[in-house]
Chain length 285, copies 2
């Protein structure tokens, strides 16, 4: 294709790469925290890249945003108050607000420029930013959680970049302790947990740190995500009260009245049915 | 990493790419049909590339081989005789022969060089080639199926490259008609059916051609496969007798005595629970 070039993300950690064919770079900004680039691709719509790592594309961000939100929300019996740490592209926020029973969602991303770029190049992800239930703020998520009122949140969604740079402090015991304290007794923490093929050690370490912080039930749900390394990604849900995370509000999920591209009650069940390599590594039957 | 270089497969069709970091090229042969290259990668073992397209890596071929074999085999009530068209790396053959009830497996790949390279660089995939139930032959799969005895086969597995070049004739009505005739009444056809994200049209066309050939029940099962475009792949099972393909020998799958890395009874159930985009595109509920 004339004038097109391939943009690759070389994921040094795991020796694998992902690429999209691009038409041109649409924008670029160096924020106080990171470099944000926007490309127009030939087949996947717009693409946001942060410090060289792909974050979202128009065409296939739905896997991640739907699994990061709906799985935990339908697992919680009565989710009213949600906090998203990170999530600056606003896609997870939009999914959370599809649930009528959700009363407040605070999105706390450290980097306002991510949201400004999303508003411009991914307007569909930002379409619920003005929902009266939404608070979009720009602050340090670690400080936000440390200052949160105890037992005030039903679900905390850690929708961050990889555990290097600004997001590094979102993957350790100290941070998880603030989450544990801020959650109501039935509260759930859900975090993006990288590739179960390439980064199983990271998932194991994350769950160990969550356990050290007091969490007692864990479940890692795999899902496809083409623009992330290996194309096979996961989120991990942790329960404050140690409840079984393999059951959820099935009737509500099966009867959901909003549109999704990937998530449904069957997909949720399927993501709870673990492949052999996860069963062996995580001892989640 | 010193002396390492990135090998990319640019998938022109869909504008996406996959890459692995390689240490060196181990081998290369131009067969009468295609160019076969073998690379040593830093993290994924050896990698076979045919005409620029990644076929298998040591570390992550299990997704594909297990889903192409076990799902159909556990769906069939009494699978005795299996034919694999393509499959020259012998990984699908190995998985089929893990089933004690299987009596014969014929693998018919047009290109002997693929198997010779697999024997050398993926010996673990070839470990069952000398099983007395196995026949490894090198011939045109289209001619083989055209000459097959009617109603002589329980499962036909089309384990081919993309539908261009040597494999093009494996994706049309004429070929499917020979498969339909060669299958016993309870017989199943299973074919690799590319990426449900990027190539849904291909899956729809394939199913339409299978239906034209007489097949009456269809099911597309998605699974991860990092070395294929978008990392999200699928196989499609078709039934000669129109039987329900959403049930399988669950107890046998749950009680399987052989080791797998991905497939198990839960994963099979999960792959039958379709994401929203597949439900809408394929009308498979």
């Amino acid at each position: 294709m004339a004038d097109s070039t391939w943009f690759y993300e070389n994921f040094e950690h795991t020796g694998s790469a992902i690429g999209f064919r691009t038409v041109r770079k649409l924008d670029e900004v160096q924020s106080p925290f990171q470099k944000i680039e926007i490309f127009e691709t030939t087949d996947f719509g717009n693409l946001m890249v942060i410090d060289g790592a792909m974050m979202v594309s128009t065409r296939e961000n739905f896997f991640y945003h739907e699994m990061m939100s709906h799985a935990a929300i339908f697992t919680h019996a009565a989710p009213k108050d949600i906090v998203i740490i990170g999530g600056g592209d606003c896609g997870t926020l939009r999914e959370c607000l599809k649930h009528a029973e959700v009363e407040t969602v605070v999105q706390c991303d450290i980097d306002e420029q991510v949201t400004r770029m999303a508003e411009k190049y991914f307007p569909e992800l930002c379409e619920s930013n003005n929902d009266p239930r939404a608070t979009v703020m720009f602050d340090d998520g670690i400080a936000y959680m440390a200052a949160a009122e105890p037992e005030s949140i039903d679900i905390i969604i850690v929708d961050s970049t990889d555990p290097v740079g600004p997001a590094e402090g979102l993957f350790n015991r100290a941070f998880y302790e603030t989450c544990f304290k801020a959650l109501r007794p039935e509260g759930l923490l859900v975090q993006q947990s990288e590739s179960p093929l390439a980064l199983m050690n990271l998932i194991q370490d994350m769950i160990a740190a969550m356990a050290d912080a007091g969490f007692r039930g864990f479940r890692t749900l795999p899902f496809p995500q083409p623009c992330y390394p290996t194309g096979w990604w996961s989120c991990t849900i942790a329960a404050k009260n140690g409840r079984d995370l393999t059951t959820f509000r099935n009737d509500a999920a099966a009867g959901k009245t909003f549109r999704t591209e990937y998530y449904n009650a069957g997909i949720h069940h399927g993501a709870l049915l673990q492949p052999e390599l996860l069963k062996r590594a995580l001892k989640q039957s």
